[in-house]
Symmetry: C2
């Protein structure tokens, strides 16, 4: 069997058969069960084989005592066996003709002990020698909805245009779940951990060439080969929108990155200059990454930075304008002609007919909001609109519900891009009542933000990106 | 009746009787009903009189057609009558011996029209002439749990040490609700709107002298008299911890502030220098204000900036360390002696025994977390601890629940201040399942944060404040 090149990772993302080595037989809540649960939930189409020296049966599937006992070929192995026996598993896999192994388990080079480093080297050498590609160790592996492959049974089953290459499994899961309910779907997600064999450059090269991927997100703690990474990143940035979150920027963070995935983090300045040279969109937290993905997928590119803010609440109006202006967007004054036209058909006190436009009247005369949006959106002085509301002021779901419906309808009448910019807060009772209503915006494919700052930051980044790439934004 | 001085606002915060002028008779969902609902919910002890020219009955209370028809004295009037009839109400109040009126309704000086400005001037002159103090117009008025006075039936009924003086009613409500469930309680909250008569300086002077207030939060769009405000602010900052959120910092925000409360916002530089000279804690968003209040009330002052971060998840560990270090805190490396002691009794792979300390083992051996916290907290190299977790990775409530219990117990064994630092995310299903569990930390009076950044920002601000005030932090 020929060794897979990094361009040919296809079999890893589309295995025909999978074996789960090391799954717990006795404890149904054991963490090793998650891969089986996910494959069943996703209805993986090929055969799934379970392997554990104890034998037995799990969820109606026979448990083989050894890999070699499996009567058919096995493409891909997901291993949850302990670090100490991992090198032996590589031998067994080689004998069985396995093409790739995902080592989930930790306890290798990332722990600050000789034994771990030795085991990881042994693992790497064994797999290289036998021509088996390896993901990990110390990671969650692959989520590829098209192949019905997932490491979390709760992930969305539909595919989408985003690839996420994440050194951390936790951060990968966090992002998929955070943006999943906001409408973002993925082509491929990889949690690659210690990157002993397959590393960030291999996966980046693969997704850069992937026709199903338009946007590439990266969570990187450190790179294995700086020169190659730079070259691959440059090529990727020419073909896709690339967003980067660098983990490990301070002393403690760098130490944590070394402890987490054994990564050499590189200086902050190196990363700054890399991103600005290659025109990568840099984000600084998981929230920013989530907002940026929503922006790339659902926010049509405005022609410029001038925003019309239409919402409800005077204090909110002030704070959202501050957030937008602090982060590089503009909130130009509405000319008297526009203000007069709005005031004519909606003269109620409590509305501030300006920009921001505090249209609290929505709650009384919801049907008029569409006309307001239509008039304002046609003014040449603005490039996009944002419908805003601070949910933490809303104890009552029916009020928010009527605002959602009014804003949804009004958004249809906007002649320019329109974003929904909420400030969600965290009052548990509100969240329970209000967040499900937010899904209506998501279902209509409107770009939906959950904080004023988040919206401003990512829309501004999108505009900057486009300026740098002279209109090359694809999504 | 003598005119109330600004030092003698006592009757406004403790009225013996209240009349609600302008309450809707026919529509039980009308916004004017909220004050009655709140007074009933809070069991206001004095008589509540309702006034509407239509007469009738609301919730079993007689509705008087005119204020003068009320058979007894009335201390305080909450007015929801329209702007045009407001000046006439002042006359009626004067004849009735009313001491103060809260004008809730908008449509005065804040709207960009001659008529509104004229009406507000008329209102001010009438109230001055008749010796009646006025809150507003265009605001929500007073929340004072001790007096059973509230503008929202859902606010906490217990009192606490925080006074919040907010030009915006929406932002006042947002903060009370956002921090209410996180354990913060208030002495007095004022939404004062256009500040036509009683303004920010009057209220600040009052709460600065209030023995029930330790911490004063301000949301200010603009001030009426800069010199007086500066003097009052300086005096307040000598007696209380003062936190300021300035709304209206950019062009659009300033315009929004003018439109919202008619405020002249003042330059950003003026505010910067004011805060740094007077050693006011400045915050830049409602979230920061909320976190700062939680910090002032529940975070014991650490002796320095060195944090030990103990949580679960490698990717999280990296990101929380980055957030802490970016915002002025330190995450020192654990000495080998400490690491060895922890590793001795908890050798499991997947734990990174460093700082951050990725103790994912909590989920398997919850009882050991207390010992870890105890060992680390006694190390002289750190000043405080943070127990951290990213909730968006948790689909399963029972896992988070066991972490909460373990961390609660472990917090008892810390010999240094300990904060709970969560990253809550927004997945609706998570919020529903997990946020109620967070209340356990709140119930134990632990400082509980909902984002890594929020915790880092506000703990750093607290330390800076204390350095500037040479140990004068009271709370």
């Amino acid at each position: 069997m020929s060794k897979l090149s990094s361009e040919g990772l296809e079999p890893i993302f589309h295995p025909r058969s999978i074996a789960l080595a090391g799954i717990s037989i006795s404890n149904p809540h054991h963490w090793t069960r998650v891969f089986l649960e996910a494959l069943i939930e996703f209805a993986f189409e090929g055969p799934i084989y379970l392997v554990n020296p104890k034998g037995g049966e799990v969820k109606g599937l026979h448990v083989y005592r050894r890999l070699q006992d499996i009567p058919n070929t096995v493409d891909y192995v997901i291993s949850t066996v302990g670090a100490k026996v991992a090198p032996r598993l590589v031998e067994e896999c080689a004998n069985k003709g396995v093409r790739a192994i995902h080592f989930c388990t930790a306890g290798f080079g990332e722990i600050d002990e000789e034994e771990g480093v030795r085991l990881e080297t042994q693992l790497f050498e064994a797999s290289q020698e036998r021509g088996i590609r390896m993901i990990g160790p110390n990671c969650m592996g692959i989520y590829c909805p098209e192949s019905r492959l997932s490491f979390n049974p709760g992930f969305p089953k539909q595919s989408g245009p985003v690839a996420f290459i994440s050194q951390s499994g936790g951060n990968a899961g966090s992002i998929v779940r955070q943006v999943g309910w906001r409408g973002v779907r993925f082509s491929k997600v990889v949690s690659y951990g210690n990157a002993s064999d397959l590393n960030e450059s291999d996966f980046l090269e693969y997704v850069a060439a992937d026709p199903d991927t338009d946007v590439v997100a990266l969570y990187i703690e450190g790179v294995k080969d700086g020169r190659r990474f730079r070259r691959v990143l440059e090529q990727a940035a020419e073909k896709k929108v690339v967003i980067l979150l660098k983990g490990g920027v301070g002393e403690g963070g760098t130490r944590a990155a070394a402890g987490h995935t054994g990564a050499l983090a590189g200086s902050q300045a190196t990363w700054d200059s890399l991103c600005s040279q290659l025109r990568i969109i840099r984000v600084y937290s998981l929230e920013e990454l989530a907002d940026m993905l929503v922006t790339c997928l659902f926010m049509p590119l405005p022609e410029g930075r001038n925003a019309a803010l239409i919402g409800a609440g005077g204090g909110n109006s002030v704070l959202i304008a501050d957030e937008f202006e602090k982060r590089g967007l503009r909130v130009p004054s509405l000319p008297e002609g526009i203000r007069k036209r709005v005031r004519e058909f909606s003269p109620a006190a409590g509305n501030i007919i300006s920009n921001p436009l505090d249209y609290s009247q929505t709650f009384v005369e919801a049907d008029k909001l569409g006309e307001v949006v239509s008039i304002v959106s046609r003014w040449q002085g603005i490039d996009f609109l944002a419908g805003f509301l601070d949910l933490s002021g809303f104890a009552r779901g029916e009020m928010f519900s009527s605002w959602v419906d009014a804003m949804l309808e009004a958004s249809q009448r906007s002649s320019k891009p329109i974003a929904i910019v909420l400030q969600v807060g965290t009052v548990p009772e509100d969240m329970q009542e209000l967040l499900p209503l937010v899904k209506k915006f998501v279902a209509s494919q409107l770009p939906t933000y959950l904080s004023f700052r988040g919206a401003a930051t990512s829309i501004n980044s999108m505009l900057t990106y486009n300026e740098n790439h002279a209109g090359r934004l694809k999504t």
